[in-house]
């Protein structure tokens, strides 16, 4: 027992002195996720909502010909701007997204009961002109149909006779499902933290020590190899855990800066969330510690191990990518699959959907069982004589 602890303590202490390991495990990993997420969500959501709901500034030419129309548009959120001398050029050069032009004979046609025309000048190829143009068009159509209905009603006729068909749209998306992509990505940051938290340690403790030829004297001690392995795994796990806890706390803090209000969502990122998320990710700490050590054991040098492990980083992303591209409904069996369990579990926790104790238990059992299997294989590799000897 003391031999394991000795190895563990030695590795932890040594690696705490290593700037690169500390940076990647305790700073880069845990900070990257929450900060990136908060900034990305805010920028995207604010930008979209501003275009869709904020005041709509549109240069208007000929506003004097249709004062009531302009008043009605103002009520809907239009902020008329001074007319432009050359609207076509302004639109092409992106000085304006869209320009409204009211011709001089608008009033004459209106009073006669003939269709009065207004023009929208825009450049469909300009990105960003689409939303304002559609909004303005919507406002004008709304005004037109309201006035049309009232013209009928003024004549003592029913406006409904002019509406033979009504299309009812039933958008079933919820803010949650609209934010599905974001929520799909989020659990990855937790997995990422666990993976990155232990990666440099795993490389250093096996491939690095072999390269430095410090593994051979260690193995020369009269201690079972698996005990040394357990000590090393423990050190890797400790760094992973620290990284994970920091990430969870980071998200908990970032939760206050997420534009949840605007999405109509509520993120529940309190202590309960941190506790459950960390618990759910625990088996991954073991799995990754063993897996990383195993890969590092096969590598001939520090550099080679680094290359392999960077490539292996794709594996934990896969469930996140699949889930965000094809949002699959969570089924109970998924909690039995390591990685998938963490993906589903964390996104449920984020949304405040309670994750049952049974699900967490299942994830823990299967995750640790998987880690144990990998551990036995790794122990076999550790017993090989070739491991200690550097090429």
């Amino acid at each position: 027992m003391s031999a394991m602890l000795t190895v563990w303590w030695k590795e932890v202490r040594e690696n705490l002195r290593d700037k690169r390991t500390v940076f990647s495990a305790l700073i880069w990993g845990p900070l990257f996720g929450p900060v990136f997420f908060a900034i990305m969500m805010n920028t995207l959501v604010t930008h979209e909502l501003n275009k869709a709901e904020g005041p709509l500034k549109v240069p208007v030419i000929g506003a004097q010909y249709a004062p009531n129309l302009i008043d009605a548009l103002k009520q809907q959120g239009l902020v008329p701007q001074a007319p432009l001398a050359d609207p076509d050029k302004a639109v092409r050069e992106r000085d304006a997204d869209v320009v409204l032009r009211i011709p001089a004979d608008y009033g004459k046609a209106w009073s006669k009961g003939e269709p009065a025309q207004v023009e929208l000048i825009y450049d469909a190829s300009q990105q960003g002109s689409n939303t304002p143009t559609k909004r303005l068009e919507g406002m004008l159509k709304q005004y037109g149909s309201e006035q049309g209905a009232l013209r009928l009603l003024a004549r003592g006729l029913s406006p409904s006779v002019a509406v033979p068909l009504v299309v009812s749209e039933r958008d079933q998306s919820t803010p949650q499902s609209r934010a599905g992509l974001m929520l799909g990505i989020l659990p990855y940051f937790f997995v990422f933290a666990v993976y990155l938290g232990g990666m440099y340690l795993a490389i250093d403790l096996t491939a690095g020590e072999r390269e430095r030829q410090s593994l051979e004297p260690l193995f020369a001690n009269p201690v079972a190899r698996w005990r040394i392995l357990v000590g090393k795994l423990g050190a890797i796990g400790a760094f992973s855990l620290a990284s994970l806890v920091l990430t969870a706390v980071g998200f908990s803090v970032a939760g206050h800066f997420l534009p949840a209000e605007k999405l109509g969502m509520t993120f529940d990122l309190g202590a309960r969330f941190i506790g459950q998320a960390v618990l759910l990710e625990l088996p991954l700490i073991a799995v990754f510690a063993v897996l990383e050590t195993l890969v590092a054991a096969f590598a001939k040098s520090y550099r080679e191990a680094q290359t392999y492990l960077s490539l292996l980083m794709i594996v934990p992303i896969l469930p996140s990518m699949v889930m965000s591209l094809m949002p699959v409904k969570a089924a109970p069996w998924m909690y039995a699959v390591p990685l998938l369990a963490q993906q589903i579990g964390v996104s449920d926790l984020l949304r405040g959907t309670p994750v049952s104790a049974a699900s967490i238990g299942m994830a823990l059992v299967t995750g640790f069982a998987f880690a144990a299997v990998l551990g036995i294989i790794t122990a076999q590799v550790y017993r090989s004589e070739r491991l200690a000897i550097s090429a």
Binding site: Y65, A66, P67, N68, L69, D71, A72, K74, Q75, G77, Y106, G107, W110, S111, K112, G113, A116, E137, G138, M139, K141, Q142, G144, S145, E146, Q147, A149, L150, R151, L153, A154, R155, G156, L157, S158, P159, S160, V161, V163, V166, V167, S168, E169, R170, T174, P175, Q176, E261, G264, M265, T266, D268, R351, G352, T353
Partner: protein, 536 residues
Amino acid sequence: MKMNSRMIMRIAAVVILVVAFGLQWWGRQHRAGDADTHGDATSAPASASTVSTKPVGKPAPPKTLKMGKLTLTACELKRPHSAATVAAFCAKFPVPENRADPESRSINLKLAILKSDSAVPAQDLVVYLAGGPGQSAIQTYPDLAPAFAPLRKHHDVLLLDQRGTGDSHPLKCPALEKLLKNQGDTAQPSIEQRVQWVGQCAQEVGKTADPRYYATSDAIADLEAVREALGAPKLDLVGVSYGTRVAQQYAAAHPDAVRSIVLDGVVPNSLVLGETFATTLQHSLKLQAQACDKAPACKQAFGDWYATLHQLYAKLKAGQPQQVTFEDPYSYKPVSKALTADTLAGVVRLFSYSEVTAALLPLAVNEAAHGNYAPLMGQAQLLTGDLSESIEGGMQMSVICTEDASLLTPRPQDEDLLLGDELIKAFIAECKVWPHGAMPKDFHAPFKSSIPTLLVSGERDPVTPPAFADEVMKGLSNARSLVVKGLGHAEAINAGCMPDVLDDFVANLQPKQLKTQCLDRIGPIPAFVNFNGAAP
């Protein structure tokens, strides 16, 4: 475009609601209680059916929602005059008809919960209290849905059909309705005639219900029972029109259960329903006339519109009913009907409920004054044409007879006003035959509270003018009263950015710090100066 059809639907809703009122008001000749512009007119009660997504083979069991002690089943709330529906969870809730006697007849209340978009909704529950009295919260909700949209991002919404309305043991009077339908609008029924009908209705209703137990205080006891069954969440009350009376009475009886109150179309407790209808309409008409005077195009087209209206009314009242042939608004087949002073008063009153229809009044009245009666008759026909019922007359009688009639006194000073004082006399006479309970003690005492409260009024509301809100404000220590320019009855809550203001209020409970600048953008639409609209 979505907005496009929504607008048409809004207008259709306005017309239809007006239709609904037409029946109430016109048929019974000034019988409407306090009512809502956004009321809808469903002829059949919207019975929410369980979700019917049945895959071939085995039907999926309906989804359920557990809240407190209640288990609700997924249902779809039908939207009147549209195939669109609102997804909700519904339940039946049995209560004793006579709360003083637990052994009395059990009646079922219908309630619906609209789940928030949020997976973790706020703990408090928003409750919509419908107007009328006599409207169903569940049936009228779709018209108010925009007002609740921002709130629903974080709050679940409770819709409870008040007893006697909707699917909660409605007090229906088929005989009375049939008589009204056949009666047309030429002969005005005498008070004796109407008293007889009301008596007949009381007999019909009496077969399945005891009308004495359908007043406001029974309703607030029901709401409290439902709240407790749901796990006793705090309530955010949103009362509209008569619903504002329910909200104030509930908050006074159960202050600890209420987190916030929103009142739109405010009815002060001191108000006796029916007493002020004539004077408030007159005030609204004056404001409409002033707006026309200030708009050069309107002034030029109609001159002194207020005077024209009253000259026409006096002429119709003095002379014989004028037989008019015009095209039916739906079928376009010629019909012939008599134009009376009451026809005019009916169109003027009901069109004043909404800013949209109010914009048509100067033109319609002016044309009629110059001999072109068809538009006014068409509009009147729209109001009665589709005789659908959105208000349970029996329940309305129970409320008014219990809580108001005993305080009504004839008002001869209203005789020269457009609505006159017939309504008051009729209420007094009818309530002598309608079985009703005793008025609770202090029922009309002013509402005093420190619960955060937001009051909303339309400037030209012909039923519950902003002055009513001012009166309620006197008893409130943490409240704010908002008036929206140019709007009519109970439509401010849906207008412009008001839904966001509401959401802000319920979220932060800071009525005095509310940002309301965006409300300044809302305003009346200009009056039509000819059949093609206002000035361009």
